[in-house]
């Protein structure tokens, strides 16, 4: 479903990734500054690796060997960053419709799924952090993406808000067929959502883990030993 192979540098920091993922939620996990977001930006076409090959489904987004490099607007993505980045001059409804030129229907369904019906007329400034992030999610889905890229979508929220938004992400995973790439440094979120996990360190993708393996690998040492005994 998703293939990402890329190499590149940002200043003196070098990034290299080799990811092959199926449908469902693919998580990229690693500490801050490990290069997680950069890989996401490469998929979105907002960062250009020196060499690389990126494919989503049957669509080749980037193939440096054959000179293919689709512009971001043509990549059919849905992206949610840490900050909701809603358009401040547009109401919630207009924010949701911003990317809808790519599809005709589904507005009510998405509004229902994310419980946005009561806030459609509001301006972004008057939304809570959790509401704003739900609107950002809805806007991304309504752009009819082939893939959803979520870059630490819960990191800007406090624990309470996070627990308010997390169920919506689960609904999104269960009720849509859009593959999701989920970048986070939060172990709990990843265990709750991911089907497959890639760990990244110092700009390099290190391991490919199942949720069970991920759980074990991130447990404190003593517990791991007990488990294997």
């Amino acid at each position: 479903m998703l293939t990402v192979r890329c190499k590149g540098t940002i200043g003196t920091f070098s990034i290299s990734a080799d990811i092959e993922a199926g449908v469902g939620v693919t998580a990229i996990h690693g500490p801050s500054g490990a290069g997680k977001s950069t890989i996401l930006r490469a998929i979105a076409g907002l960062w250009h690796p020196l060499e690389g090959y990126i494919r989503v489904g049957d669509n080749v987004l980037l193939d440096t060997q054959n000179g293919i490099n689709l512009a971001t607007k043509n990549r059919r993505l849905g992206v949610v960053f840490q900050r909701p980045l809603l358009f401040p001059h547009l109401s919630v409804a207009d924010n949701l419709r911003f990317g809808m030129s790519r599809r005709e229907t589904g507005f009510d369904g998405v509004v229902g799924m994310l419980d946005l019906g009561g806030i459609l007329d509001r301006m972004p400034k008057n939304l809570s952090g959790g509401e704003a992030q739900r609107v950002a999610l809805g806007r991304a889905i309504l752009a009819d993406p082939q893939i959803l890229l979520l870059d630490e979508p819960l990191t800007g929220l406090d624990d309470e808000r996070r627990s308010q938004v997390l169920p919506y992400l689960e609904r999104l995973r269960d009720e849509t067929t859009i593959p999701i790439v989920y970048v986070s440094h939060h172990r709990d979120e990843i265990m709750q959502l991911a089907d497959l996990i890639f760990t990244i360190e110092g700009g390099t993708v290190k391991q490919e883990l199942t949720p069970r393996e991920f759980e074990l690998s991130t447990l404190p040492k003593i517990v791991t030993r007990l488990d294997s005994a």
Binding site: L46, T72, V79, F81, H89, M123, P124, N126, A143
Partner: protein, 231 residues
């Protein structure tokens, strides 16, 4: 002073000035928006030069700007002579006064607009791109509405400047009552004549009121734009 308020020539001068300033801003504003966007955008060869040219009327003596206009757009000017053949001459007409006023106001209109574009977050721009927006949609649906307060500020500043322009106007289109004699020119002329003080004071009072209204209107437009974002 108030007896002059019923004098139709006074109001003729005011209306002419408003006409000149409106036309100047009307033509200069779209150009200033484009220029502001270009100057706020990614660096290119010659951007500093372009910026310097745009700001030149701000620092040149207005008389020099007026004379430059005469050379280019005058009856025997490079462009003026061609326009004159088509009957579109600028010289000694109120349209020429608007050209001089617009040129003088241009850098003042560009500046806040450029700043408004420069301070826009590139993240928001990236977000719009991921949602499928091409450069046309990016500009008209995101950049332009977000720059609205800067555009209003530029327009008001430009309007005030155009309303009060003196040096370039008198040099380029002279001081013809009823055609090119705007507020400043009329006040100057009246102050030169022995019994013009009263009428001059009336015009001065009107100038103050006009400037005040322009500033209040811009405050109101900026606040209402902000209120729309806070609903």
């Amino acid at each position: 002073m108030f007896e002059h308020l019923s004098d139709p020539t006074i109001w003729g001068i005011v209306i002419l000035s408003l006409k000149v300033a409106f036309l100047a801003v009307l033509v200069a504003l779209p150009l200033a928006i484009v220029m502001g966007k270009i100057l706020a955008g990614p660096a290119f060869l010659g951007r500093s030069l372009l910026s310097a040219i745009v700001h030149l009327p701000l620092v040149l003596p207005p008389v020099v700007t007026g004379y430059a206009l005469l050379i280019v757009f005058g009856r025997r000017g490079w462009i003026g002579s061609v326009l004159d053949d088509w009957g579109l001459g600028f010289t000694f007409s109120w349209v020429g006064a608007a050209l001089a006023a617009g040129l003088m106001a241009f850098p003042l209109i560009v500046r806040p607009i450029r700043l408004a574009f420069e301070t826009q977050s590139s993240d928001l721009n990236d977000m719009a791109k991921t949602l499928g927006a091409g450069s046309f949609k990016l500009f008209f649906k995101v950049a332009l509405p977000l720059a609205w307060p800067g555009i209003i500020a530029g327009a008001v500043l430009g309007f005030a400047k155009a309303l009060g322009e003196f040096g370039a106007t008198i040099t380029f289109v002279s001081n013809i009552p009823g055609e090119t004699q705007t507020l400043s020119l009329a006040i100057y002329t009246l102050l030169q004549s022995p019994r013009g003080d009263g009428a001059a004071l009336t015009l001065i009072a009107i100038s103050i009121v006009l400037s005040f209204v322009a500033i209040l209107a811009s405050e109101w437009m900026t606040t209402s734009a902000q209120n729309r974002m806070e609903r």
